[in-house]
């Protein structure tokens, strides 16, 4: 650092520290206590993207992170700004997405006095952050920022919050302390697994019905290439979670698709019948196990590989536990494999192919159905387009039918399942990767939870393509009421829906409306030809259901298939 000890403003120290961490963009929304920071921002090379709601800025930072693997940064003012961020923090926490969330706070002298726009955001977010800091002395900023980024991205990633009192940001002539981290209590797990790797290789070679179950940890670790090698070498079939989508592309011969509540029949049968389950970067979430760990993969030896020791044996009993980075561990297993015979999986694959043949869902290509739209979209946009989704039936159709080939090209709210995520996530993704195509798959309910972010799209001229599956209802809720509540429909009609094409146009965004099957392909092609943002409003029937489906409380083989 400079020998000159003249000192600088707190806010500038913060921005410099962010720059040191490689931050190129902050998604934010200003307010009173942040005035010193927004002033300093004018002199910083860091780009600021103004959202339309703090929930949008945190979702955008999350989308940015998912498609790059980098730490996403967002900023909101004290009080309401901070509380508006809460849902997005929870979303990042449940899906283990690295974020640094900056919140303004009232001046240190006023903290605790219920002053204007004061909330205890550290207290509010304690259960949904990996760690948090209240900055009391601006000289600590370089260290705190460095620690925050380090904690957010290492081990099992997650959101870290830094609460910034106004006086800390405003203080002039600050000579900062060194940025040396003081993290004696922070442990990143993952160590040599001597012996265990050999054990895995041995158990695998003896297995006759193995399945690899891949989740978000594979994506975080960037292990998709090793996973593919593993699949190619061993012929082990692979199922993925929603978080693991794209870690092995659907068209790969070993891919059985998604497992769980809306998984494929073959994937669910395979997990139920396998004699060896290699679980990598997964947490046996109840959307996969139906909330019944004790009845999940009961015929199998379970190997669990995860970076977070807390997840091991949390839900299911496991035979071999390996705490470590998915990429590293898979690579080590690959190295150990030549010492052992490949498992004989011929019979197993015959069985799997048979299940697949009997259970491939046929849909009518002449009707305007969600699978037809998804497949058409997949053909036109291609597997390497970035997809973000909202939450509901459309999310599951996207998961089942969109042919993603790269897990960093897929952003969906999994653990929290929060409507309104998709549009801001698409914004974050497009800003992170301006040269890539970004498409949002959304529903009419979800879209209206973040519809104001069309303003952010317009302001930043982001060429996001919005595919709106418009069924006029909260479709996923309707489906549950149809199946499990005797078709007693309650509060699912969205009769006040606007004309979405007109809404788009009001923001200066191109809108195309689709009402018949013949129009689908043309409209999607046109959307991708147009250089700017486009909304394609596709009317679908409210009677479409997401199938297969495992009813709540049932084993994963007890699927409703039609």
């Amino acid at each position: 650092m400079s020998e000159e000890r003249t000192g600088i403003k707190g806010a500038t120290i913060l921005l410099n520290a962010l720059q040191q961490e490689g931050v190129d963009v902050i998604f934010g929304y200003p307010g009173g206590v942040l005035l010193p920071l927004y002033d300093a921002l004018l002199d910083s090379p860091i780009r600021h993207v103004l959202g339309r709601h703090e929930q949008g800025v945190v979702f955008a930072a999350d989308g940015y992170s998912r498609v790059t693997g980098k730490v996403g940064v967002c900023l909101g003012t004290s009080g309401p700004g901070a509380t508006n961020l809460v849902t997005g923090i929870a979303n990042a926490f449940l899906d283990s997405i690295p974020l640094v969330v900056l919140t303004g706070q009232v001046s240190t002298g006023s903290i605790g006095s219920d002053s204007f726009q004061e909330v205890d955001i550290i207290g509010i977010t304690m259960p949904i952050t990996k760690h948090s800091y209240l900055v009391k002395d601006p000289r600590d900023l370089p260290r705190i920022v460095k620690e925050a980024f380090y904690i957010a991205r290492t081990g099992r990633p997650g959101p870290v919050l830094i609460d910034l009192p106004k006086d800390v940001l405003a203080q002039e002539n600050v000579v900062p302390f060194s940025n040396e981290m003081k993290l004696k209590g922070y442990k990143v797990f993952g160590q040599a697994n001597n012996g265990k790797i050999e054990e895995v290789a041995k158990v695998l070679s003896e297995s006759r019905k193995p399945v690899l179950y891949a989740g978000g940890g594979v994506v975080t670790a960037g292990a998709e290439d090793v996973l593919r090698l593993f699949a190619d070498k061993t012929a082990v079939p692979v199922v993925t979670t929603l978080m693991g989508i794209g870690s092995l592309p659907l068209e790969h011969p070993n891919s059985l698709g998604m497992v769980g509540m809306h998984g494929t029949v073959t994937a669910n049968y395979a997990v139920d019948d396998c004699d060896l389950l290699i679980a990598v970067g997964v947490r046996f979430d109840d959307r996969v196990t139906s909330g019944m760990g004790h009845r999940f993969a009961t015929k199998a030896k379970v190997i669990h590989i995860d970076i977070d020791p807390v997840e091991i044996s949390k839900v299911v009993k496991t035979e071999i536990q390996i705490v470590g980075d998915a990429r590293q561990v898979l690579a080590e297993i690959l190295e150990a494999l030549p010492g052992f015979a490949n498992p004989d999986v011929t019979d197993w694959w015959n069985q799997l192919r048979d299940w697949r043949k009997k259970n491939t869902i046929q849909y009518d290509k002449d009707r305007l159905t969600p699978p037809m739209v998804m497949e058409c979209l997949g053909e036109i946009a291609g597997g390497d387009t970035i997809v973000t989704t909202d939450v509901g039936q459309h999310q599951m159709w996207a998961a089942q039918y969109y042919p993603t080939v790269n897990p960093r090209n897929y952003a969906t709210s999994s653990g929290l399942g929060v409507m309104g995520y998709g549009l801001p996530a698409a914004i974050g993704a497009q800003i992170a990767r301006p040269k890539d195509k970004v498409v949002l798959i959304t529903g009419d309910g979800s879209f209206q939870m973040s519809i104001q972010e069309l303003g952010t799209i317009a302001q930043n001229k982001l060429p996001v393509k919005i595919i709106l599956l418009n069924n006029g209802v909260l479709g996923m809720v309707r489906q549950m009421q149809k199946m499990f509540y005797n078709e007693r429909y309650s509060q699912i009609e969205l009769q006040g829906n606007p004309d979405f094409v007109k809404v788009a146009e009001a923001y200066g965004i191109r809108g195309i409306s689709v009402n018949s099957p013949e129009q689908v392909r043309g409209a999607i092609e046109e959307a991708f030809k147009h250089p700017g943002p486009v909304l394609v409003d596709i009317t679908i029937s409210e009677h479409e259901n997401v199938l297969p489906m495992v009813p709540p409380g049932k084993d994963i083989t007890e699927m409703i298939v039609r």
Binding site: I122, L183, K184, G185, V310, K314
Partner: protein
């Protein structure tokens, strides 16, 4: 089963709430919890007595270890440890019971630290069963008030 966890944490405001919050959020039950500074002023030592089977205790330990403010967690249960608790107990006395009460205090090696006309306050140190036994013994005379510190524990030095 009761487990005694020795947890070394950063000596900062907010640490206690992080630890306590973890217990409530995950539904673990704290039996007792004590905190005090250690020989290193930057660190505090928590002694947490928690109830649960081995699997729960393993989860508790792992969850605690994950907190950035927690430096180490060790389970002292089954280890060779010295553990103590301090209790202050106010007991009713009358001319008839006074000598019997004092005798009981003596047997348990307690100390009388305050004396009023109708009651006395006893200080007692020991392991938990000893304090439980004293409380039991003194109850018939009239137990007016009881404060216990919760357990503190330390590993025995190797012989």
């Amino acid at each position: 089963m009761l487990h005694t966890l020795a947890v070394l944490v950063e000596n900062n405001p907010g640490v206690l709430i992080r630890v306590a919050g973890l217990f409530t959020r995950r539904g673990y039950n704290i039996d007792s919890l004590t905190v005090c500074q250690t020989e290193d002023p930057e660190l505090s030592r928590m002694t947490i007595v928690v109830n649960g089977d081995d699997q729960i205790i393993e989860q508790v330990r792992n969850q605690l270890s994950k907190l950035v403010v927690v430096h180490s967690v060790s389970d002292l249960t089954g280890e060779s440890v010295v553990d103590r608790e301090l209790a202050l107990i106010r007991v009713q006395v009358s001319t008839e019971t006074r000598s019997a009460v004092l005798q009981t205090v003596d047997i348990f090696r307690g100390r009388v630290v305050d004396m009023g006309r109708t009651n006395i306050t006893v200080e007692l140190t020991g392991d938990i069963p000893k304090i439980d036994a004293f409380v039991h013994a003194i109850q018939p005379y009239g137990l007016l008030e009881l404060v216990r510190t919760g357990k503190v524990a330390i590993l025995r030095s190797e012989a």
